[in-house]
C-alpha cells in the first residue's frame, strides 16, 4: 500500500504527459464541421458562367454531389484541380463549384485553360454562402448525400487517399 502511494504522483504525471502529448499529435487544421448531418444551407447567388442566372439550393439537384470551394488566388486549389477533373471522368458523382471571393473573369479563364470539373460554379463574391457553410480556408469540399444532407467536409486539397478514407464510405 505504502509503495503504491509513493509512486502514485509519478504515475499520474506520466499519464498526464502521455494524454497531453496525444492531443498534440491531433491535426488541428481539420475542424469538425457543425453542418455534418444537416441540410445544405439556402442561398441566392449568381452563376459564375452567367451573371444573369440566379442560383439557389434547388439547382444542386443531382446527388450524391460534392461542393468544392475554390478560387483562382488559392494555390492549393490548383494542386487539387487534376484530382477533380479525374473524379468527373471516372465517377458518377456530380461536382459543383463554389467560387469563393474571386474575380469572375479570372475564374472563367482558369477553367477554360485548365479544364472545368464542375457542373457549374456558384459565384460567391462576398463569401456569404461560405460563411453559412463555416468555410475558413479554400479549398474545402462538402459531400452531400441523396437526401441533400451534408455527410462530410474536408479542408485542404483532395487526394485519392483522402477521397477513399473520408468520402467513399458515405457513398455506399
Amino acid at each position: 500500500m505504502k509503495k503504491i502511494i509513493d509512486i502514485a504522483p509519478l504515475v499520474v504525471f506520466v499519464l498526464l504527459v502521455l494524454a497531453l502529448f496525444s492531443f498534440l499529435q491531433r491535426d488541428n487544421n481539420q475542424l469538425n464541421s457543425v453542418l455534418i448531418d444537416k441540410n445544405f444551407p439556402e442561398f441566392t447567388l449568381t452563376k459564375l458562367e452567367d451573371e444573369d442566372i440566379i442560383l439557389s439550393k434547388s439547382d444542386i439537384s443531382h446527388f450524391p454531389a460534392i461542393v468544392n470551394v475554390w478560387a483562382t488566388w488559392c494555390i492549393t486549389c490548383r494542386v487539387e484541380h487534376p484530382f477533380l477533373l479525374n473524379l468527373k471522368k471516372e465517377s458518377k458523382i456530380k461536382i459543383y463549384g463554389l467560387n469563393y471571393k474571386d474575380d469572375r473573369q479570372k475564374a472563367l479563364s482558369l477553367l477554360e485553360r485548365d479544364g472545368n470539373p464542375f457542373e457549374f460554379s456558384i459565384y460567391d463574391k462576398e463569401g456569404s454562402l461560405a460563411i453559412d457553410l463555416g468555410v475558413y480556408g479554400a479549398p474545402e469540399t462538402f459531400l452531400i448525400n441523396s437526401d441533400g444532407i451534408i455527410k462530410t467536409r474536408h479542408v485542404g486539397a483532395l487526394t485519392p487517399e483522402i477521397w477513399n478514407k473520408k468520402f467513399v464510405i458515405h457513398l455506399k
Partner: protein
C-alpha cells in the same frame, strides 16, 4: 552611449504607438457606429471570438481574410441590433464551439473545465497520504526505540 540607446528605444516606441493609434483610427473608419455602446460591444465581441484560420488569436488580433469577413458579419449583426447571444448562436451554428474562446460547460468539455480542479485535488490527496505514511513511519520507529530503551533500562535494574 546610454542616452543614444534610450533615444533609439524612445523613437521605436513612438513609432509603434503611432501605428497603434492609426490602426484604431482605421478600425473606427471601417466600422463606424452611431453609439459608443455599440462600438464597445463590437470590440468586446471581436475579443471573445477565435479566428478559425489562425486559431491562437482572436478576431480582433487577426488580419486573415476569414477574420475580416467575420468582422464584417459581426458588424452587420451589431448594426441590426442583434443581442450578443444571438451573434454567438449565429457563429457557433456555422463554425462550432471552436469559435468561442470560452467554451460552454457540456459533456465534451467536462474534462477541460473540471480537469484542473480534479488534478489539484489529486495532488492534495497525494501530499496528504505521503505525509501521513511518513509520520506513521516516524512514530513506529520512535515507539520501537522507546521500547528498546525501556527494555534495556529494566534489564539494568
Amino acid at each position: 552611449m546610454k542616452s543614444l540607446f534610450f533615444s533609439i528605444i524612445l523613437a521605436i516606441s513612438q513609432v509603434i504607438w503611432s501605428v497603434g493609434i492609426q490602426n484604431l483610427d482605421v478600425q473606427k473608419e471601417l466600422y463606424p457606429f452611431d453609439t459608443g455602446e455599440e462600438e464597445i460591444r463590437f470590440n468586446k465581441l471581436l475579443d471573445d471570438y477565435r479566428c478559425p484560420k489562425c486559431q491562437s488569436s482572436n478576431l480582433s488580433g487577426s488580419n486573415s481574410p476569414i477574420a475580416r469577413d467575420l468582422k464584417i458579419e459581426i458588424y452587420r449583426l451589431v448594426k441590426e441590433g442583434k443581442k450578443d447571444y444571438e451573434i454567438t448562436e449565429f457563429l457557433t451554428q456555422r463554425y462550432g464551439d471552436f469559435i468561442l474562446y470560452k467554451p460552454p460547460f457540456q459533456p465534451s468539455t467536462y474534462l477541460l473545465w473540471i480537469g484542473p480542479f480534479a488534478l489539484l485535488l489529486i495532488a492534495i490527496l497525494c501530499v496528504f497520504l505521503v505525509k501521513r505514511s511518513k509520520q506513521k513511519k516516524v512514530s513506529d520507529t520512535d515507539l520501537r526505540a522507546l521500547k528498546k530503551k525501556f527494555k534495556s533500562e529494566s534489564e539494568k535494574r
